[in-house]
């Protein structure tokens, strides 16, 4: 690339940052000023790089994360702790296009549903794991069966399910058969990358600490409590592929872990790190580049609907009316859209006709009084429970909610609960919750699958792993909707969303914004699914 090209691209980049161009817009403008797409892609390091790997990767990036993962096993990559590291080292059959959020091939090049319960994936050829093992259908089938094994019962199986079995048809074709029709199986498989079969069978003790994958980065070292390191993979298949949706421009990566948002931001300001994740709005503003991005995370109030107080729909409606979502968004979370449902517009089954529950303290108080007059024991205690450190300002939010409930005549208090204890009480099904518990849980819900069905499964259904709600009619509707595709699926799940909404099964609050602090010279765009992929980053 000639010097004049570089100068024009740098000028364009400055303009892009100032005006917030998307990567696609950037490439379009690059073409308009006569800079070739590969040339622009070299500088921006993004999916616009349609051709082969350009300049040799160089430099090092330090990413300051809020939590250190417990383990780097592949099935943990669905969690927000795991995937910032894992998805750079390991890859899945599918990923999402960062611009459109559509599913795209990663280790698979194409896929189709051959019958109601079978999806066929055609695999990418010429891919090898970092340990030299060839990637093929046998390895893919093994990886899928291992990850989604009912015997292993990994958390991803619990949360993402369903029962499935993968079989190699030929060297680069694998069939995945599900127990019941599952039109969104590809969305589920995007969720977890595939491990090395060799590593799982011969050295399983290394799985937690030393993941081996096919990805653009090779895992090097984990110094627990301090850092993780990886280096660019010179043999990555993406170097010569047109559909890699990124390229390696950074040679080394180091992830460090700082629990406090202010310290993560300070690291970026002090140039000790180039990327900081999950910053508070105030801390983010101190960094050279603050990116506030929509996400698939929705903060909501999960109500113990079996409780003598919250079993009354008037009480649930009152709770919904007592929260000023706009104020919460602005004053506590520094942004975010008030939510009408537990998923965002990107999800199949999102019902655009529903509005967030309005804020009306007068009506809320009246409803509580009516319920009390009919004998609802409104003085029974309600606990607004929040998990320690689950998101920024969660304690303040829980305090606010408890205060509002007291204002409308209920008897509530907030409680910050340490992680293990909270999870023990949160991940309990409706049928196992003590009737008098009286919890309002305040976890965020992330629907990376972008299909309401997983949300229904987890939170709306009588048997849901985290469900404190039960409506047999809704369960019936779900069972009927689950195998549907296309428009029929959209309409069926819109109806289920409406049923849950009108019954006040939960109180959605906001679609959570996520704040990232970047160094001045780091080029990166946030993804809706929250993945942090080094192949989508570059330095100017």
């Amino acid at each position: 690339m000639v010097r004049s090209d570089i100068q024009r691209v740098e000028a364009l980049l400055r303009e892009a940052r100032q005006h917030g161009y998307s990567r696609r817009e950037l490439v379009r403008r690059a073409a308009a000023i006569g800079v070739a797409i590969p040339a622009a892609g070299l500088v921006i390091g993004g999916p616009a790089s349609a051709g082969a790997q350009g300049a040799e990767p160089s430099g090092k990036i330090v990413l300051s994360m809020s939590v250190e993962p417990d383990s780097l096993e592949n099935w943990r990559s669905y969690s927000t702790d795991g995937h910032p590291i894992l998805r750079n080292v390991q890859e899945a059959l599918l990923n999402r296009d960062p611009e459109t959020n559509e599913l795209v091939g990663e280790l698979a090049t194409s896929w189709e549903q051959t019958n109601d319960v079978t999806w066929r994936f055609h695999l990418r050829e010429g891919v090898t794991f970092h340990n030299g093992e060839a990637f093929n259908a046998d390895v893919a089938a093994f990886g899928i069966n291992y990850t989604w094994s009912p015997e292993n019962n990994f958390q991803i199986y619990q949360y993402v399910g369903p029962d499935m079995n993968a079989t190699a048809i030929d060297e680069y074709t694998v069939d995945v058969v599900t127990e019941a029709p599952d039109p969104i199986l590809p969305s589920r498989l995007y969720f977890s990358p595939l491990p090395s079969m060799q590593q799982v069978t011969e050295a399983p003790e290394t799985l937690p600490d030393n993941p081996i994958g096919t990805g653009p980065y090779i895992f090097q070292e984990w110094n627990r409590g301090q850092y993780m390191r990886a280096v660019a993979n010179p043999d990555w298949w993406g170097h010569t592929a047109d559909d890699a949706l990124g390229q390696i421009s950074i040679q080394e990566a180091e992830w460090v872990f700082r629990a406090e948002s202010a310290v993560r931001a300070a690291m970026v300001v002090a140039e000790e790190a180039q990327f900081a994740r999950f910053l508070s709005p105030e801390d983010c503003e101190t960094t050279p580049q603050c990116i506030t991005s929509s996400s698939v995370e929705t903060i909501f109030l999960r109500l113990d609907t079996m409780h003598p107080v919250m079993s009354d729909i008037r009480i649930r409606k009152a709770i919904g009316l007592s929260i000023n979502k706009e104020a919460v968004a602005e004053q506590l979370f520094g942004g975010g859209e008030p939510a009408s449902q537990l998923v965002g517009p990107s999800a199949t089954g999102y019902n655009a006709e529903l509005d967030p529950y309005p804020f009306d303290m007068e009506q809320a108080t009246q409803l509580v009084e009516e319920a009390a007059a009919d004998g609802v024991p409104i003085d029974m205690p309600i606990t607004v429970a929040t998990r320690e450190g689950i998101y920024v300002r969660n304690a303040e939010f829980a305090e606010y909610v408890a205060n509002q409930l007291n204002e409308i005549g209920l008897n509530a208090h907030s409680e910050v609960i340490e992680i293990a204890l909270y999870n023990e009480q949160y991940d309990v099904n409706y049928n196992d919750v003590p009737e008098d518990r009286g919890w309002i849980g305040t976890n965020p819900h992330g629907n990376e699958i972008m299909d309401v069905s997983s949300t229904v499964q987890a939170y709306y259904s009588c048997e849901g792993g985290s469900s404190t709600y039960c409506d047999p009619e809704l369960d019936e509707a779900f069972n009927a909707a689950a195998p549907l595709t296309g428009e029929a699926r959209q309409e069926a799940f819109e109806e289920i969303t409406r049923m849950y909404y009108e019954d006040y099964g939960a109180v959605p609050i906001i679609h959570m914004p996520l704040n990232y602090g970047l160094a001045a010279n780091l080029v990166w765009e946030a993804r809706l699914d929250g993945f942090i992929l080094l192949k989508e980053m570059s330095f100017t």
């Binding site: 417990d70 300001v269 992680i419």
Partner: protein, 315 residues
């Protein structure tokens, strides 16, 4: 010579007796940890994920021999502990004790540097204050001490980061490494001990300086510097040493807030993480490691008393 030999044998007997006490304390701790662990509920259920199946819970119970009678489990547990075998971390899937031992140097490093900052500064402030009681200097030192005791170390740590790391760029914001990395966390940790110790130094010095021998020393024409450092301070050192030991115990427990803030990989933050993850082997190993460090430190402090004050007898 006889006195010296006698003195050495007295010290040796004292040392043996104290070691015996320490062992008793540690054994008692082991017993308490065992029974508390089993009183919390089924250890297997506690250690596994909430969504673990009954089969997985039972498999873990069998692998840990939790279905054996309690006295059999206890005997085996004691034997394992005495061999240094705390089992395998369910979180990291490696032996628990090495995980803890890996963290001890960082904790000792931070505690040591903090005390190196805190004790001399506290002594100086306490002396300055005691030499001119109720003066402006005394009042300023008292205010500084009280501020040190009152300030939240978390807030102080953040302020130090913003000033010295972000604004001035003199030191790193956080992390673990060479001398530059320990300064800010040690400063943040040192403020409270400086506050507490300086007041104790002041009180002890005032007490000593009111005694007749000090009057005699001054009457003999000794300089103030000699009176303070050669006579008074030594006599005032015992309570200061005791409190310094107490502060050191706090640091050896792991200064969790400061370790978390600065990303310092010490025992404290490890213990908190293990508790959050219900990793009982690591919890037990951490508790024992901390107990051993504290017991050892207390023993060393007790032995130091006689170096400071020859009147101290080991009985």
């Amino acid at each position: 010579m006889v006195v010296m030999v006698k003195g050495r044998s007295v010290i040796a007997r004292y040392l043996i007796r104290r070691l015996g006490h320490s062992i008793v304390i540690l054994l008692g701790l082991i017993i308490v940890v065992f029974f508390v662990t089993h009183m919390l509920g089924d250890p297997a259920s506690l250690m596994l994920r909430p969504e673990a199946t009954d089969e997985q819970v039972q498999a873990l119970r069998e692998s840990l021999n939790l279905d054996d009678p309690l006295r059999v489990q206890f005997t085996r547990y004691m034997g394992d502990i005495l061999r240094g075998d705390f089992g395998e971390s369910l979180w990291q899937r490696v032996p628990a004790l090495p995980i803890v031992i890996d963290r001890i140097p960082a904790t000792l490093y931070l505690a040591g540097v903090t005390l190196l900052i805190a004790v001399p500064l506290a002594v100086i402030l306490g002396i300055v204050s005691a030499v001119k009681p109720r003066s402006i200097t005394d009042r300023i030192v008292t205010v500084v001490s009280l501020t040190g005791v009152s300030v939240a170390d978390f807030w102080l740590g953040l302020m130090l980061i913003l000033l010295f790391a972000v604004q001035l760029g003199w030191l790193p914001t956080s992390g673990f490494g060479g001398p530059r990395y320990v300064i800010l966390p040690a400063l943040a940790l040192a403020v409270r001990p400086i506050g507490r110790l300086s007041q104790v130094v002041r009180s002890a010095m005032l007490d000593e300086m009111s005694k007749a021998y000090v009057t005699t020393a001054r009457a003999k024409g000794l300089k103030q510097r000699v009176v303070i450092f050669s006579h008074t301070l030594k006599n005032a050192a015992i309570p200061v040493l005791t409190l310094a030991g107490d502060e050191a115990s706090v640091m050896l427990n792991g200064a969790v807030v400061i370790e978390t803030l600065f990303g310092w990989p010490g025992v404290g933050v490890l213990l908190i993480e293990a508790i959050e993850k219900r990793d009982l082997p690591v919890i037990e190993a951490s508790v024992m490691a901390i107990a051993v460090m504290i017991v050892t430190m207390n023993l060393l402090i007790d032995l130091t008393y006689s170096l400071i004050d020859p009147r101290v007898r080991y009985t």
